[in-house]
Symmetry: C2
Subunit: 403 residues, 2 copies
C-alpha cells in the first residue's frame, strides 16, 4: 500500500502527532551529527534557552530524553518519589488515569480521585484533599493540564494556589503533553515542580522525545530519592546537558528539528501562537455547535484550545465517522479512548495549523458525519467557523485593510 | 556555526551513530503517519519479519521502543529480573561495565567479573563461575557481543555452550548494540534469551530507538517478574504490537526508516553485509598494522568487524588526533571511553559503508596521526588497506573481469 489512499495531502488532525512543518522536516533531513562533536554545545544550549521560554521559566532545568510522553511520565515519578510514597492524582480522562496508573505500577501509593471525564480538576477539590492530610503524607499531586482524551483543561495556577491555601508541601507534577507550546504554560508563575511534554504536539516534531522542565524543589528531592532508575535518572543527564552533551546517544535529528521548531515558535511569538490556537479552536467549537452536537467538555472556560472531543448521537458509532474520514477523505481524527470509545471522536487543532486547514478539516468532518447518518446541514459547521474567523480576520487586518 | 566546518561531506566514522543512507533519509522525510491509522499493521508486521531475519530467529519476539540502547538495557533487566536477583556480568570495556552498572542501579545484585579491556569474554570463565553456583542463584548472565569501547567481540554461541556445560538455567542477556545487522548474530542457534540493539548502528537509522529480541524463556520469566516498570514493560507492548499498534505513540518516522533499512539489508543479503564488514574491517586493521600501531583487542580472532580501537604511542594524546581530524578534516572518530581516554581512538566501520569511504577515512587518520607527531610513512596505511581490498576485489570480480 502507498502512503496516501487518495491523491493530495493527508490531513493529520488527531490531537498529536501533529503536522510537521516543512522547515522542521528539512532541518531533520540531514546527515546525523557526531553526538560528541563540536555542534552539540551550541545546539543544546539553544534548545534549553528556547524551551525555558516556552515553559516560561527562568529557574527550571530542561531534561530531554529519546522516548515519548510515557517515558516523561515515568521520569517525573522515579526521580521525585520513593516506592510507597503517597501520591494524589485526579483522573479526568484516559491520560490522567494512565498517569496515575504509571505511578501505581512504579510502586507508589496513588490515591486516584475519579472525576467526570467532562471537565478539568476543580482546585477546591485539591484543597479539600490536601487540607485533611495534616500529616503531609502526600509527596506529590499529579495533574494533567490539557487532557488529550477529553479536551478539558485544568487551571494549574489555581491548583497551585489551592495547594498553598492548604499549606501543603507536596510537589506539583504536571502533564502538559498536548498543551505546552500551543497553550500558555507558566512554570514559574504557577509554581509547577515538574512539567512534562512530548515532541509531537505543540512542538511540531515527529514523535520520539520526552521533554521535562524541573523546578528547584523537584531537583532537590531527586538528589535524595533512592528509587531504582538508570535510563530516566535525570541526575547524570542534567550534569552532562550542562556541558552540551548527553550521557547516552541522544535522538540527534530530533534535537535539530526541535531547534528549528523553537525558532519558528519564537519568530511567530508565543503569545501569537497561543492566540492562533484560541482563534482556530473557537472556529472548531462554533462548527460543532452549528451541527447541534455536544462538546464533551461541559465547562466553556475549560475547553481546550488544542483539541475538541465531539459526542456523537447515541445511534451513531464514532469509530464509523473516523473510518469514513480516514478511508474516503484522507483525514485522520482521534478516536474515543477508554470508556469514551465509539461515543466521541476528537479533532486535533494544534501545532502548525492555519485557517484553511481547519476549514478543510471541518468540511471533512461534516461530510463524514452526514454520511454516517448524523442529521446536519452540509456547510453549516464550515459557515459558522468562517463567520467566527471572519470576525477575527477583520480585527486583525486592522489598519492594513487589503485594497 | 554552520553544519560543516569545511566544504564537502562530513565523514562520520565513529562506531555509531553511522551514516544514514539516502534511501533511509528519504523514507523518513515525509509527513508523520497516524499511529492509529491504516498504515501501521502492515508496517509493524514487515519490521518484525525483517528484524527476525536479522536476529536469525523464528521464535523470538521483537520489541521496539522509542529510546536508545540504554533504554533497551533497562528493558532487558526490569522485565526479566526482580530487585535483589543475582546477576553475573563480565566487564570487558566501558559499555559492558555500564550494562552491569545499569543492573546494579536497578536493584540487582550484580557480580561483575572485571576482565582486561583487550578481549572478549572467555567462555571457560563463564563455565567456571556458573559451575560453582550449585544453588543456581544467578538468574541471568549479561554479555556484550561487540564491545563498542574496545572493538573486542565475545563468542556468544560458545558462552551459551559453557552455560549448558555448567548445567545452569540462568538467562543469557546479550547487548549487541554495535554488532547486530553488521555482524552475524544467531539468536536461536546461540540460545540467546534477550538480545538488544539500537537503531543507529548496523540498522543505519538516526538514533532514537531501542530494539529487543525476546526468547520464550525470557518471555515466560517476564510474566512473573514484579519489578516496577511501566514505559519499558514489554507485556502490553508485545500485546499491542501483535495487532500492529503500540501502547503509546511510537517514533513513527523511525519505524518507516527502519523498514527501508531492513529492505536494503535484505536486498544486499545479510551474508553479503557481514562479508562486506569483514572485508572493510580487514582493510582497517591492515592499515593500523602498517602504521606500526597497536590494535587494542589483543586476540585477532576476537577483533570486531564494526570498529577498531587504536592505541596511540604514550607520548601522544589520542584526543588530539581526534580534534585534529574533526576540525581540519571534517572526520569524526570515536574517543577513548572511561579508562581508555586519551590512550585510544576508535575507527567506526559499520553500517552503510564502502571501500572508498574506508580509504578516505584511513587517509584522514593517517594525516591526523602524522600531524599529531606519530612517526609513520604517509600513504603506508592506505596502501596496506588497498592491497587487502585489491585481493578481495580480484576474487569477487571473478569471471566478470572488467575489460
Amino acid at each position: 500500500m502507498d502512503e496516501t489512499m487518495t491523491s493530495g495531502r493527508h490531513f493529520l488532525q488527531i490531537p498529536g502527532p501533529t503536522n510537521v512543518p516543512e522547515r522542521v522536516r528539512l532541518a531533520m533531513d540531514r546527515s546525523v551529527p557526531d553526538h560528541r562533536g563540536w555542534e552539540m554545545p551550541e545546539l543544546t544550549s539553544e534548545l534549553v534557552r528556547g524551551l525555558r521560554q516556552v515553559f516560561k521559566t527562568t529557574s527550571g532545568r530542561i531534561a530531554l530524553y529519546p522516548g515519548s510522553g510515557t517515558a516523561a511520565w515515568e521520569a517525573s515519578i522515579v526521580n521525585t518519589l520513593e516506592p510507597g510514597d503517597r501520591v494524589l492524582a485526579f483522573s479526568i480522562g484516559h491520560f490522567s488515569h494512565l498517569y496515575a496508573e504509571c505511578g501505581r505500577r512504579l510502586g507508589m501509593a496513588v490515591d486516584e480521585v475519579e472525576l467526570p471525564w467532562t471537565r478539568g480538576v476543580p482546585p477546591e477539590l485539591v484543597e479539600a484533599h490536601l487540607s485533611v492530610d495534616r500529616a503531609h503524607r502526600y509527596r506529590a499531586v499529579l495533574v494533567v493540564h490539557n487532557e488529550t482524551s477529553t479536551g478539558a483543561t485544568s487551571d494549574v495556577g489555581a491548583i497551585r494556589a489551592a495547594m498553598d491555601a492548604a499549606g501543603h508541601p507536596a510537589l506539583l507534577l504536571v502533564d502538559s503533553v498536548s498543551g505546552v507550546a500551543s497553550m500558555d504554560f507558566r512554570f514559574d508563575e504557577w509554581g509547577v515542580d515538574v512539567a512534562l511534554t512530548g515532541a509531537q504536539k505543540g512542538l511540531m516534531l515527529p514523535p520520539g522525545m520526552g521533554i521535562l522542565c524541573l523546578g528547584p524543589r523537584a531537583l532537590e528531592r531527586s538528589r535524595h530519592v533512592t528509587t531504582p532508575r538508570y535510563f530516566l535518572d535525570w541526575g547524570p543527564l542534567l550534569e552532562q546537558m550542562e556541558t552540551g552533551y548527553f550521557p547516552y546517544t541522544p535522538a540527534t535529528l530530533h534535537l535539530l528539528g526541535l531547534r528549528e521548531a523553537l525558532r519558528m515558535l519564537l519568530e511567530e511569538g508565543l503569545e501569537a501562537v497561543f492566540a492562533r490556537h484560541a482563534r482556530l479552536a473557537g472556529a472548531v467549537r462554533g462548527a460543532v455547535e452549528a451541527w447541534g452536537l455536544e462538546i464533551l467538555c461541559q465547562c466553556p472556560a475549560e475547553r481546550s484550545n488544542t483539541l475538541t472531543a465531539v459526542v456523537v448521537p447515541p445511534e451513531v458509532d464514532a469509530d464509523h465517522v473516523l473510518r469514513f474520514a480516514q478511508t474516503r477523505l484522507n483525514l485522520s481524527l482521534g478516536t474515543g479512548l477508554g470508556r469514551l470509545r465509539k461515543r466521541v471522536f476528537r479533532i486535533g487543532h494544534l501545532g502548525a495549523l492555519n485557517e484553511l486547514e481547519v476549514l478543510a478539516t471541518l468540511a471533512g468532518v461534516e461530510l463524514a458525519l452526514h454520511l454516517s447518518g448524523v442529521p446536519l446541514d452540509l456547510g453549516s459547521g464550515v459557515a459558522a467557523a468562517q463567520r467566527l474567523l471572519a470576525e477575527t480576520l477583520r480585527t486583525r487586518a486592522g489598519a492594513t485593510t487589503p485594497c
